[in-house]
Amino acid sequence: MKSSVIVFPGSNCDRDIAVALEKMQFKNTMVWHKETKLPKSDLIVIPGGFSYGDYLRSGAIAGKSLIINEVIKAANSGCLILGICNGFQILTETGLLKGTLLRNKNLKFINKDVHIKVINNNSKFSKKYNENQILKINIAHNEGNYFTDPEHLIKLQDENLIVFKYCDEDGNINEKSNPNGSINNIAGILNSKKNILGMMPHPERMVDEIISNKDGVNLFSSLLN
């Protein structure tokens, strides 16, 4: 399984995701944003960070970079795309995922381990998890407050495109267990074709028992099969 990680000025989770991918036996290549060709990839990851210092809007400038044209082409031909944190923001700015990520409701940068529930385990990104499984995964963002129009929200629910929702440790999904004000506690969504996942939590930070936990491992092992 071949993967590519796109690197922008200001990306800071690119090496973390590369370590996680290599640990899971992906053959990974780092791709600088000025490249105009992508190596042959089964999976493209847009990592977390602060591409272009979050100028204009988070992900707005990276969403118009040279390599993004290739990412869009690959996405349209069915390649798997994973956007984590700033990567999710970039995917919404490109239009590959609908909706947008607003500033956290409490106006604070939030960096903590939160619980998320696997709502849809019938996707290429989540099939190794159990339905309703509760994961403990780190979030670290200032703009993670997912927002979309009512029609799209209905579509997300009807087509089972919501993969993860914020919950508490017992799995309760409510306002109290919503760290950033995200609509319906949404933490990660798919596109209609289900080959693109955008999520705010960082699964690449949860692949080693010594430094955190291994709750992120099954996301990568889902992709391997």
Binding site: R57, K98, T100, L102, F147
Partner: protein
């Protein structure tokens, strides 16, 4: 002489650039937490008459274009392609000069 006049005319028409301002604001239904905090702070400062505040962005753009209709089309394209996130933001284009 004619040549000099022509050149002078050309350089004058080049100087005839248009300048626009763009105001970008969050749509009415989108929560504006920054605006809310600014509002609360002003109320705390005794500005009791304050009804509401929405925070936005302001761009000033000089264009090498003297035709106003073409210029506005170009500015509108800039807004749609990059400056504005149409899902959550509205924008207004104003001519400055």
């Amino acid at each position: 002489m004619k040549l000099i006049l022509e050149k002078l005319f050309q350089s004058n028409s080049k100087k005839n650039k248009l300048k626009f301002s763009i105001i970008v604001t969050l749509k009415k239904d989108v929560l504006d937490p920054q605006g809310k905090v600014v509002q609360n702070t002003l109320v705390n400062l005794g500005m009791d008459d304050l009804k509401s505040i929405r925070q936005g962005k302001h761009f000033e753009i000089d264009l090498n274009e003297s035709d106003e209709d073409i210029a506005i089309k170009k500015i509108d394209e800039m807004c749609k392609k990059l400056l504005v996130n149409l899902i959550i933001e509205d924008y207004k284009i104003n001519k400055i000069k």
